[in-house]
Each structure stands twice: as C-alpha cells, then as structure tokens.
Amino acid sequence: MVSASVTQLVEFAIDGITQGLVLALLGLGITIVFGLGGVLNLSIGVFSAIAVVIAIELLGITSSLPLSIVLAVVAVTGLGLVVDKSLLSFVYRSEGEERVLLGIFVTLGLATLLDGLLVIARPSSYSLSVGVPSTTVFGAQIRGSSIAIIVISLALFAGLYYFFRRTYLGRATRTVLQDETGAVLCGISPRKMRTLVFVLSASIAAVAGILYSFTQQVGAAEGFELTILALIVSIVGGVTSIVGAVAAGLVLGLIATFTSAYVGAYVAEIALFAAAIVALLLQPEQVA
C-alpha cells in the first residue's frame, strides 16, 4: 500500500517535471525577448499553435515525425524573422515605457490576426503521438511522451546554455541584456541581437508547442492560453532571468500537477495564477 502510493507520487512528480519543462520553454520565449528588447510578446502562444498545425500538415506529406517537426520549427522561425523585421521595427522606434505598452498592444493585435488566420486554415486542435513506448522504472510507469519531452527539452536547454555561455554571439546577447550602452561601446548592435533573440524565441515557442501537443490538444483555441502560461512562468522566474524561467517552469509544473491530482483541475489553474501574483508581490523590482 505504502509502496503503491510512493509509486504514484513518483509518477505524478515525473508528470510534473514533464509539464514543467514545457512551461519552462514557453516562459523562456517571453523572458529572453522582454529582457533584451522590452517587448512582452503576447503572440508567443499562437506561434506554438502554428508550429503544431504545420507539423501535423507536414506529417501527412512526409510521414516522418522528426522531419515534420524540424520543418515546422524552421517555418515558425521564419515567421518570427518576418515579424521582427516588420512589426517590431516600428515598436523599437519608441523608448522606455511607451515601447513596453506599444509592444503589448502590437503583439496583441498580431495574436488576434494570426489566431484568425489559424482558425480559417485549421479550426480544430491536434495532438501529435510520439511513438515512443512506455517503460516501467522501479514499478513507476513512465509514458513514452514524457520520455520524449524530457529528452528533447533537456537537449534544448543544454544547447541554449552552451549558446549563451560559450559562444561569442550568445555572450554578446547577454551583454546587451546587462548594459545596452556598454554593449554599443563594444561594437555590438543591440538591434541585431534583438532580431536574433526574437527569432530564437519563436523557434523555442515552436518546440514548446510541439512538445505540449505530445500530451495535450493544441490548436487555434489554445494559442492565447499558452501565451498566458508563458507569461506566468516568466513572471514567477523574474521576467529577465533565464535560469529563473527554467526553475519557475519546473516549480509551476509540479504545483499544477499535484494540485490537479489531489484537489481539482480548476484549482490547479487558479494556483498557477496565484503563484504569479505572489511572485509579483514578493519581487516586483526584478520584474520592472
């Protein structure tokens, strides 16, 4: 009896970590763009949804899951580049608080536009099946989708860590994050770094959406929901902290899974928002 409940706890924990890693990716997409450019990208969830829909479409043509996923991520990355070069150029013309507000409004408009397009193209929601078999470790059953999500997201985090710590480009990006004037003096163009980071965030969002669709249905209807989740993770993590976003994703994933299992699904949703509000009240200076 005791071992059964322990097994169940372990299973819930694995579910929580799985959900947490996806949340962390979503939050990261918001965090790096806000940290670097002061734009709170409210269309990020729609990017994720578009990635899922494209992957499903491509799967019908290529019948290879990895290839479809890669192509979908590339497509959404391209979309990110177009948005950065067109819309965000206007936003970056303004400064300070006005830029933040303009960023919110413009990306909100973009989310509405893309959402509308998605509804026209493919109105329903989809989930991708990974085809990885479930395994049993010490009596605890781990779903194949969980294994795939954990492996892919950890690999992505490792890659991002390497990029931001070890490569010149990554370091240059962090320089802008810490001190924009200093970065300019070192010959780094903040605008170019912003483009790079926005495109990066679009591809992270695409991967996050596809991983999310391994366990849930994703489509036009879920786009804004994903944005809000991303926003919460980013806030709890301190909005401009990359490590914070990852930690926040994991914590929130665990909170959501356990509250959902023991209290109820809607309380779990409220718990997520409550966590965001508490984080805001405790550490406002980090967010501003």
Binding site: L101, I104, L110, L113, L117, A265, Y266, P284
Partner: protein, 342 residues
Amino acid sequence: MIHALLTRVGGTDWETIRLPLVLGLLALVPPVVFREGATYVSRLIILAAIFATLATALNIVFGHTDQLFLFVGALTGIGAYTTALSAEALGVSPWATLLIGALLTGVIGALVCYVAARLQFTVILIAILTLALQFAVIEFFVGARDITGGSTGLIFSGLGFESLQEGFGIHEHVILYYLVLALLGATFVFYEWLRDSTYGLAFDAIRQDEVAAESIGVDVVRYKVLAGFTSAFIIGLVGPLYAQLEGFVIPGLFEFQVIDVLVLIILIVGGMRTLLGPLVGAGLVVWIDEGLASTGEWRTVIFGALLIFLFLYFRQGVVPFADRILNDRFRTRERIATWRES
C-alpha cells in the same frame, strides 16, 4: 466641423454645451433608430453604450493615473455575478443588490491599486498583475460550479421594468438603453467634474511626475486608490446591465478577449484623457466590427490587422486628431479674418 461652426456662428462655448448636446442627441436614439422587431440593431447600440461606459472608467484609472487595468472583464463579471447571486440568496430584486456588486468591485479595484502603489509598481507590473487576476477570476467562474453555475451560468433578467413594458408596450431594449444611458451620462458628468477638480489636478501631477507630486504634498497612494475605486465601481455597475442585455451571466461574457481587448482599443482609438473619446471609439469599433461581419471568417484577421495599424499610427486617438485638425483650420480662418480687417 461642428466645433468650429458652433463657436463661429453662435459664439457659444463648445466646452459648456457639448455634454448636454451629446447626451440629448443620445436620448433621441430610441425613437429615431429603434424599430419594433429590429432588436439586432438596438442590441448593438446598447452594447456600444455599455462599452463606452467601460472605456470611460478605464480612462480615469489608466488615462489619468497610469494604472493599466487588464481585468475590466473580470470586474464586470464580479459585478454581474455578485448582483445576481446575492439577489438570489436574499430573495430580493437585483435592483436592491446592484450596489453590493459595485461596492465589491470598487473595493477590489482599490485594494489592487493600494498594493500596487505601496509596492511602487510600474504600469507594466500592474498590467501583468491584473492580467493574472483576470484569468484567475474567469477560471473561478468556470470552476466553482456550486456557486456560479459553471460555464452554463445563470439566467438573469431582473433589471427591467415589467410594469412599464406591459402597461405602455415599451420594448425592453428601450428601457435598458435609457438605463445604460443614465449610467453613461452620470459617468460623463462625473468625469467632467473630476477633471476640473483638485482630484483631476492631483492625477495630472502624479501622472507627470510622481516624485515631484509627492514632494509638494500630494498623497500619491490615496489618489491612486481613489481612482482605482471609482473606475472599478463604475465597471461593477455596468456588469449587471451588460448581463441584462445578454439575458444570462456566463463566464464567456467576461473573458479578456471579449471585454478587455475591445475596451482598450476603444479607449486608445477614441483618445485617452478626452471626454468624448470613449463614446466615439465605442461607436467606431462596434460599427467596424459589424461591418466586418460580412467578411465572415476573415473578420478576426482584419480586426487584428486593423488593431496593429491603429496602435502604430493612430495612438493619439480620433478625438484629439479631429480636434487638432479643426483647430488648425479654425486658426487659418481666424487669420484670414484679421487679415481682411486690416
């Protein structure tokens, strides 16, 4: 055009007659426009008036004290649910519980502003805080089935005058329109008074430079809380009227995408910190939205594109824009007049 004309022809001061004139014109809408059987049009007009009131409320708290409320939908919902549920629980008419809902939302607005002002939140922080609240509240409306009836909600129709409807054969929309108009008018009068009062002056001082305002003795926290209470109170009053129009109280009515997005667009397109901006904006947005209905599924896409365009190029709003053009023209005329005289 009217502005210039009135000042030129009658020599009347536009500022003083504009409010009675606009409200008088709005009062003429039902006999002129409403038709028996055409409830579709009358519903849209009432909806525009409701959104104009919400936008005016947001104008006070966001336009004048820089506190961006992104939970107007949640506040509207709290007002509606509280009024409906407490009327049911107490066994009285919703008329009696209207103020309970409004007071509760007012207190929530005040509390949020108090916490935010105390912790010295920037506009972006309040925006995120209230956005999180918005979604938590909607989640509660959907989830707490025992209290709110879940996503199927409650039927609501208590804010009518049945004796008037039956006795004189007046359509319920006509009555509801005048109710909403009374609230909109009261809000307008209050807003006009507020701007010229010490409060308005304090709000301006706070918005321009908080530290400087504090240093000359303006109690920043108090004024911000007052602005938050006032706006939330008005929004709480709108809630039950909105529910009366729709005939029920369901979570879907109060979602971020349904209320907040529209109210923000209305305020910004109409013009922040103007009296008539919210009214012009509401009329325009409801009209555009209706016009787009013929485009079918492309409606959302075009609306989104329009949003981006308006925010990028029309941020000062229609009313300030029109005002500027008219003023320029007016000054040209003035110059011609003086040139002729000489």
